[in-house]
């Protein structure tokens, strides 16, 4: 067992873990931040995407020990300071960009990372960026719409319906 310390959602977080503990497990099991989900074991589904020092990272692809000393943001840290949904979260609700909710935390974290590097992505760019996030419920249609709406684009003008 070894002690690891990082900043998670703005607060210092410390835990005693085995060396093989993944960041996803550290967040879920040690810190009880169960919003980060694990949907596969081959780093394909993206349900576990978090931000590590501002970069989108699949939390199942790195060891917790590797994240020592970093600033980690999870879905629990994404709402506005007053607890209301942030602009991306609100767009997901407004455009029905989620159904069962399991892939949703990873989708929101990926969307935030995308909009940070590309504030007005085209539809093709959004779809391309979501290559590493699998959703089984929505068919992605409304997720793409929500992300474009969150970027301030008029999705009603884009969508045929």
């Amino acid at each position: 067992m070894a002690q690891v310390t990082m900043t998670v959602n703005g607060k210092a977080a410390t835990g005693d873990i085995e060396g093989r503990t993944l960041l996803s497990a550290f967040l879920r099991e040690t810190l009880n931040l169960t919003g980060t989900h694990v949907g596969c074991d081959t780093s394909q589904c993206g349900a576990c995407v978090v931000h590590v020092d501002g970069e989108a990272v699949k939390a199942c692809t790195i060891l917790a020990a590797e994240a020592a000393g970093t600033e980690v943001t999870t879905i629990e840290g994404m709402a506005n300071a007053d607890g209301s949904l942030n602009v991306i979260q609100q767009a997901f609700q407004d455009h029905h960009g989620l159904q069962c909710g399991f892939c949703t935390p990873g989708m929101v974290m990926s969307a935030a990372a995308l909009l940070k590097e590309n504030p007005k992505p085209s539809e093709a760019e959004v779809r391309d960026y979501l290559e590493g996030n699998i959703c089984r419920c929505t068919g992605y249609h409304n997720i793409v719409k929500a992300i474009m709406a969150a970027s301030g684009q008029d999705v009603a003008a884009v969508a045929a319906e």
């Binding site: 169960t34 919003g35 989900h37 159904q99 909710g101 979501l130 959703c135």
Partner: protein
């Protein structure tokens, strides 16, 4: 004008807030103080004699609580099958014993052999590696036709063959159907495969067993679409626990698509082990485990023949299907290729004679059961593919051939035992052709050809039987359960309501749409209504969510219970208003006396019910809580027409979907936003089946597609862009036999889209001069390219 609340409004989903903030409560989020973890050691061979399982070394490993093998479960029941099909000779299907842990033999890769319970998952996994398993590997049988042709390899030694049943439907029609084929002016024949799929809800299955020694109460937390069904099956047939000592909780569930209907060994195991170890026991499936332990879907091999007269009227349909059951019978497996498939073979057409033969086969593969659509996509695919092929052979427009044979008068009794109550197939066809701009297709094809691409237009119609099901009917057909639904409506003293439903929401948004219905009935704000589901301790016995049944059956139960509430509330109001009960009207949350300005608010009536100082106690009881069980009198029959345009790159065989349009008739719609989301999701799964997904075994029974590296899930860039993608539900012929006039929308997209896509690809290839009249799914670039080479 869009409504801003109640039935027909696109109310935003209340459940979204918790899911968007990481505050959901999925089963894997549940950790009980003192819990141990289980790891299942699973067979890595498809077929073998299990000589010995030596657990001594594993038991000595750090943290190990107990190691279980098949011998530990000899005293309990096997996994039950919920549907008994009777074969064409009137004999019951062959039904093998299905143990919780393998005993004597292993029959598919992934079958659990032993289970290690340890303090941590890592310790359990480490200890499992120390278990010595002595297996004599046997030849495996994977191909269904080979399994039936020879008994050299039998999946179950104690059964007479690998044939579960040989079903004929309707057997009395067989001779007349054969005769119609002899007289036919034209017969179109098609042999096809409906590819094996894995449902893949994003949340893997999880089960946590808990046992209270003091009260001897068992609790199972599980990723289920139907907790009451699990409680009944596991309690009564597997572990012998009466329902009053067993609570099953399915909290937030991350998608189901059918594969979370069934009762699985892991649920029984953790419930059993929690008592045996006197500790809570938790199992969380990895995705790799899910691929080899979740029930798979589809996997039919079919020959279909369509007979037409000289005027192109359909005169008969005849099919022979081999349906894979896998190594054991999953909970509802026998019903899928029979009663959910054969009964749909009329489709949207007035074919007078139909005969369906289905041979259900045991193979050394994971059990196969319902996956979104369940039997109906298989029926639709073969019927709509053979019609398209017939149109090409006859040189007629595939739209015209369909229209000519549409059923136009309702109710309509098909020759395959169901009666459609309503529908308007020309309306959905008209709508989808308008939405898809079929008239502009020729110009678009030219543009594609100028780019060196082949462009095709695909059309497809479908019908489903949803809202399952009338209990007395399904009982006659072999169901070992009723298929009603339930709701308890509890009105609180200050006017808020709690609706406890037997339906279960795992993405469908019931917490929002069910509240819309009750709000509409009473005339109050949706936020005064809470929808509770998923816990056998606080919901009435219900059958859960699958088969697009929730609003049609569960919603109807809720309406009936709310009607009882309103009837009683009117009695109370009539007392308070000193008026005749027959004069009391409920509108906008207030009771008034007809023709007067006297009224009393909803909240005053509910308060009177619980503080009955001024109350007709001699006539009615205090309180305001009612339960209803609703048993439907018929299935519902959603139907639709879909179109798709594809571009095929002749150099690579790659297919891209350029346009997609759907026109569905779901009857009345409660929340259009949610309905459209359901259709989007269904279409994505159907496009996945058509272009990407394939569950594959090698000849030894090794599963070749056991991770997302090998099983191609649809991703955001595999699906049509927004600009040329429309889902429409404006054609509405309300269901005539349920109170909301609803039909259900959950499976339509997955049923309607696969043949649409394949029809479009065939049209594209034909336009390039390639004489390809069928492609099996998934139409991967390799398959399409190979077909083009002849």
């Amino acid at each position: 004008m869009p409504k801003d609340g109640g039935i027909g409004a696109s109310s935003k989903r209340r459940e979204d807030v918790r899911f968007l903030t990481g505050a959901g409560n999925y089963t894997d989020d549940i950790n009980i103080r003192g819990q141990a973890h289980v790891f299942f050691l699973r067979s890595d061979v498809a077929h073998g004699t299990l000589n010995a399982v030596n657990t001594a070394a594993a038991e000595a490993m750090p943290g190990v609580v107990k190691v279980f093998t098949g011998a530990d479960f000899e005293a309990v029941g096997g996994m039950p099958c919920g549907w008994q099909v009777t074969d064409k000779h009137g004999e019951p299907m062959q039904e093998p014993r299905h143990p919780i842990l393998a005993h004597g033999k292993v029959r598919h890769v992934g079958e659990p052999i032993a289970a290690v319970v340890a303090d941590t998952l890592e310790q359990a996994r480490d200890a499992a590696e120390a278990i010595e398993v002595d297996i004599t590997e046997l030849p495996a049988v994977i191909d269904m036709k080979a399994a039936v042709a020879s008994d050299d390899v039998k999946v179950h030694d104690d059964l007479t063959s690998n044939l579960c049943y040989d079903w004929g439907f309707v057997e009395e029609n067989k001779a007349a159907t054969d005769e119609a084929f002899e007289k036919a002016a034209h017969v179109t024949t098609l042999e096809l495969v409906n590819n094996r799929l894995v449902a893949n809800p994003m949340e893997p299955r999880v089960a946590v067993g808990d046992y209270a020694r003091g009260t001897q109460d068992h609790t199972l937390y599980t990723t289920s679409q139907n907790p009451h069904v699990i409680r009944l099956l596991m309690g009564a047939f597997v572990l012998g626990i009466p329902e009053h000592k067993l609570r099953v909780v399915a909290p937030d569930v991350g998608g189901g698509f059918g594969t979370k209907i069934f009762h699985y060994q892991e649920e029984a195991f953790v419930t059993f082990a929690a008592k045996a170890c006197n500790r809570p026991v938790k199992w969380t499936s990895s995705r790799s485990e899910a691929f080899m332990s979740d029930a798979h879907g589809r996997d039919h091999v079919t020959k279909i023949e369509l007979a037409l007269d000289a005027e192109h009227n359909f005169t008969a349909v005849r099919t022979e299907t081999f349906a894979n059951m896998g190594a054991y019978l999953s909970t509802f497996a026998p019903s899928i290729p029979t009663w959910l498939h054969g009964t749909l073979m009329a489709g949207n057409y007035k074919t007078p004679l139909i005969y369906v033969n289905v041979k259900a086969v045991f193979t050394n593969t994971v059990p196969v059961d319902a996956y979104r659509g369940a039997g109906r996509p298989e029926a639709t695919f073969q019927l709509e593919r053979v019609i398209d092929k017939a149109a090409r052979e006859l040189g007629v427009d595939p739209v015209d051939l369909r229209r000519q044979n549409f059923i136009t008068e309702f109710p309509y009794a098909t020759p395959v035992a169901v009666e459609y109550d309503t529908g308007d197939y020309h309306a959905t066809m008209d709508k989808v052709l308008a939405l898809s701009d079929r008239d502009g297709f020729a110009a678009r094809r030219k543009e594609s050809e100028a780019k060196g691409k082949l462009r095709g237009f695909g059309i497809n119609c479908f019908i489903e039987a949803c809202g399952i099901a009338p209990s007395n009917l399904v009982g006659q057909l072999g169901a070992r359960a009723g298929l009603y639904e339930s709701a308890t409506v509890r009105v609180n003293a200050t006017g808020g309501l709690v609706v406890m439903t037997g339906s279960h929401s795992h993405g469908q948004g019931h917490e929002t749409s069910f509240a819309q219905v009750v709000a509409d009935m009473i005339g109050i704000d949706e936020n005064m209504i809470e929808i509770v589901h998923g816990d056998t301790a606080n919901t009435p016995m219900g059958m859960g969510t699958y088969g697009s049944r929730s609003i049609a059956v569960g919603g109807s139960a809720m309406v009936r219970a709310t009607e009882k509430i309103i009837a009683k509330a009117k009695k109370i109001a009539s007392h308070l208003l000193e008026a005749s009960e027959s004069d009391i009207e409920l509108k906008d949350g207030a009771f008034s006396v007809a023709g007067t300005d006297k009224s009393v608010a909803w909240g005053d009536v509910t308060l009177a019910a619980y503080v009955p100082h001024n109350y007709p106690l001699e006539d009615i009881e205090p309180g305001l809580e009612e339960t209803a069980f609703y048993d439907p009198s018929n299935f519902t029959y959603p139907a639709g027409a879909y179109t798709c345009e594809v571009e095929v790159d002749p150099a690579t065989g790659e297919v891209s979907i350029e346009r997609f349009a759907s026109a569905d008739d779901f009857g009345n719609v409660i929340n259009p936003m949610i309905v459209e989301g359901q259709v989007h999701g269904g279409i994505a799964q159907g496009i996945g089946q058509a272009l990407l997904e394939n569950c594959t075994y090698d000849e030894n029974g090794q599963l070749l597609s056991a991770s997302y590296m090998d099983y191609a899930m649809p991703r955001a860039d595999n699906l049509p862009e927004m600009t040329h993608y429309v889902v429409d539900h404006s054609c509405q012929t309300p269901c005539t036999h349920n109170p909301l006039g609803v039909k259900g929308c959950g499976e339509a997209g997955a049923i309607g889209s696969p043949p649409t896509v394949i029809n479009a690809i065939i049209d594209a290839l034909q336009s390039g001069g390639h004489k390809v009249d069928h492609l099996d799914m998934p139409a991967t670039p390799a398959r399409v390219w190979a077909a083009m080479q002849g």
